[in-house]
């Protein structure tokens, strides 16, 4: 009897282990998926890595990725239909980018996103972006220098740009779904666009010149109302948005000097606190922004050996940030009437009772909402020199 059990156990280990096996050379590792819609059908394109071309040994000179397309009434159907043109099944476990075309985003992204969140193979650590003035397919059809795999290029660009310039936001699927479902915050997504000749873009030729004929660039933020795209922010507004939602890590701001000319402020630390208040039944938000910065560059005559000059620059930058933030709030209120800043959530946190009554018509409340912005800038250092090099020479 004991022997019998033993044999059964051994057998069960060996027999079940390979039940669902999928070897690496059977997987079509997909790093980016693009979703378009035309004629009531989804067109899904997947950027699949060609393993032999990205291996250390070096490839044969063929493209490092290939684009597989599928059409279907649903996203899932389209993805499965891809196997008609491909020897391997799509494996999206390492997905980096999900690109949605602008026209589909205008119709609504809720439905196609469902599969993406339901499928077990997908994780939620990839970025979602909107293809501006282009189809998702066109975006995925461009070869890129530096990073051989375009999807990785987009992913890293988004990350680097978010950390150093702060006009873009890397929105992961989780965040997007949370925003779409939340009553107090609407979604935004970064736009992505193709410049140049898109025909050359897909061939290896594109990366053979120093200036690529075609390149993919990040663009400003797309504003959503519920799950529909309603418009785009400008670059300044995008930066204002990032400031409000406390997503600025590092950026550069330009201020005008009192005697003309410009100076650059390098922001090292940027912290925004949003506090919701309800005054006489109408919601308001207090924004307290604390910035620590360095002087990055001085292109004007200002005497940086005097502490007062620092004060002047601080005041100037405070004003600039305040204007940027106010401008983005007002323009979103006027143009799109959708609370992308999450002020609703701030009210929810501070005044849960009042929120209950406001929640239903929140976007209307949002348009009349007053924001009190307070900015506090501290300039800590002036870089490696004190006065501007130009000033010294003229003395």
């Amino acid at each position: 009897m004991k022997k019998g059990i033993f044999i059964l156990l051994i057998l069960s280990i060996f027999l079940t282990g390979c039940w669902n096996r999928r070897e690496l050379n059977e997987l079509g590792i997909t790093l980016a998926i693009g979703i378009d819609k035309s004629d009531d059908e989804y067109l899904v394109s997947a950027q699949v890595v060609v393993p032999s071309e990205v291996s250390m040994k070096g490839g044969t000179g063929a493209t490092p990725v290939t684009l597989i397309k599928g059409r279907g009434e649903t996203v899932y159907e389209a993805i499965r239909k891809m196997t008609k043109g491909m020897s391997r099944k799509i494996y999206p476990g390492h997905l980096r980018m999900l690109i949605i075309s602008e026209s589909l985003a205008k119709e609504g992204i809720g439905d196609p996103l469902d599969l993406i969140s339901r499928d077990w193979e997908l994780r939620s650590d990839f970025y979602v972006a909107v293809a501006r003035d282009a189809t998702a397919e066109q975006i995925l059809n461009v070869q890129t220098p530096l990073e051989t795999i375009p999807a990785n290029k987009m992913f890293s660009t988004l990350k680097v740009s978010e950390e150093n310039w702060a006009a873009t936001v890397g929105v992961t699927l989780d965040q997007l779904i949370t925003d779409l479902r939340s009553d107090g915050k609407e979604a935004v997504l970064t736009g992505i666009l193709v410049t140049g000749n898109s025909e050359i873009g897909s061939s290896k030729q594109n990366v053979e010149t120093i200036t690529p004929a075609t390149s993919i660039k990040l663009d400003d933020l797309a504003v959503f109302k519920e799950d529909k795209l309603v418009g785009w922010l400008t670059e300044d507004e995008s930066r204002g948005y990032n400031g409000i939602v406390n997503q600025v890590k590092n950026t550069v701001g330009t201020v005008s000097c009192p005697e003309g000319g410009k100076a650059d402020i390098e922001v090292l630390h940027f912290k925004t606190k949003v506090k919701g208040i309800v005054k006489n039944g109408s919601p308001e938000v207090d924004l307290q922004v604390n910035i620590e910065a360095n002087v990055g560059a001085v292109e004007c005559r200002i005497d940086l050996t005097k502490p007062e000059s620092i004060k002047i620059l601080e005041k100037a930058y405070e004003k600039a940030v305040e204007e940027t933030i106010n401008h983005s709030i007002i323009s979103v209120q006027e143009k799109y009437e959708t609370d992308i800043f999450g002020f609703g959530n701030a009210i929810h946190r501070s005044n849960p009772k009042e929120w209950k009554t406001m929640k239903k018509q929140w976007n209307q409340h949002f348009t009349d909402l007053a924001a009190n912005v307070k900015v506090d800038v501290k300039i800590l250092k002036t870089g490696t020199v004190n006065n501007s090099v130009v000033v010294k020479r003229k003395d």
């Binding site: 059990i5 059964l8 156990l9 069960s12 079940t16 039940w19 669902n20 077990w120 994780r123 939620s124 650590d125 989780d174 779904i177 949370t178 479902r181 939340s182 959530n345 929810h348 946190r349 501070s350 849960p352």
Partner: protein, 372 residues
Amino acid sequence: MLPTVKINSYQFLVLVILFTIGTSILVIPSALAANAKQDAWIAAILGMGIGLLIVWLFTKIGLWFPNLTYIQVNKTLFGKWIGNIFSLLFIFMTFLYTAILLYYSGSFLTIHVMPNTPMAATNILFAIILVMAIRLGLETIARSAEIFIAIFFILFFILVVFIAPEVEFKNIQPVLEIDINKIFQSSLPLIVVSSLNTISLLMIFPAFINRPSSAKKHFLIGNLIGGLIVTIITILCILVLGSDMTALQMFPSYELAKKINIGNFVTRIEAMMAALWIICLYFKMVIYFYAAVFGLAQMFQLKDYRPLTYPLGMIVVILSLVIFPNNLEQSVYDTTIDIYFSLTICLLLPLLMVVVYAIRKKQLQKLRKHRN
């Protein structure tokens, strides 16, 4: 007579901890967040407190007769016929819960790890080690639990430390938005799963423990530690995923493990974390199954419980496969029928026992003296 083994009270503590955490760690955060939203952690603490009261009641019942298991207590209190009917209900419940837990483990594995594998395969494998453990006896179970709890706490510690950078305190505000009634309501599943069902442990406590009086303390402490761990997991789920995502997920704590990302280097370790749930699920299942098998043997006064293990093991596998047609039925069952079922058997019956005991106290004491 059935074989008598004794485990020490530390081993019992370990079993209580694992039993309390059991399935709660996997599914309870979602159940709590569905109603209590960002106040789910308050519901968890509340549930833990009420749960402790219930466990205290169980220890009281257990210690009336330090040498008898729950089945025998039933018989002594209610007499042969009524007692056996109640015992049968109890055995039925523990047996059913074994199958449901087997379903849980199967569906967890087939949803997240091996989607093309039929559930029968995973469940049979699980049932084999389940039957094996029961056949080896309580002492082996307790000793292996001692080893596995170390692994459990190491993994748990890793999970908590590694997920800490993802925490966002905004997610937990506003505190106490939901009114206290609703919080109480939503803590009910936790009370049922983590505390009410510990009645199964009355098959071990106090009859098979060498020092029952210190085991009483350990019963309570074990339940407290288990409850704390579930609370911590719930708080982390809310803090990291937000209440909405927590409620949306089927297995939120697995989703939590997916979020771990330390410098793009320590990532994708959720499969390792799954060991946490498998350990807890397994020991909870073992205790249920032990209670069912041993209880049945005791009720029919068999010489040995081992002959029952194979047939019951087979029935459990089949039951686990047919019990829910799909996972929606399971979640409907979990939130409705299961709660009333457990409430009846694990709360109503023990309360009835208290009443009967109070009435028959003197008579029973005479009986005991007479026996001695």
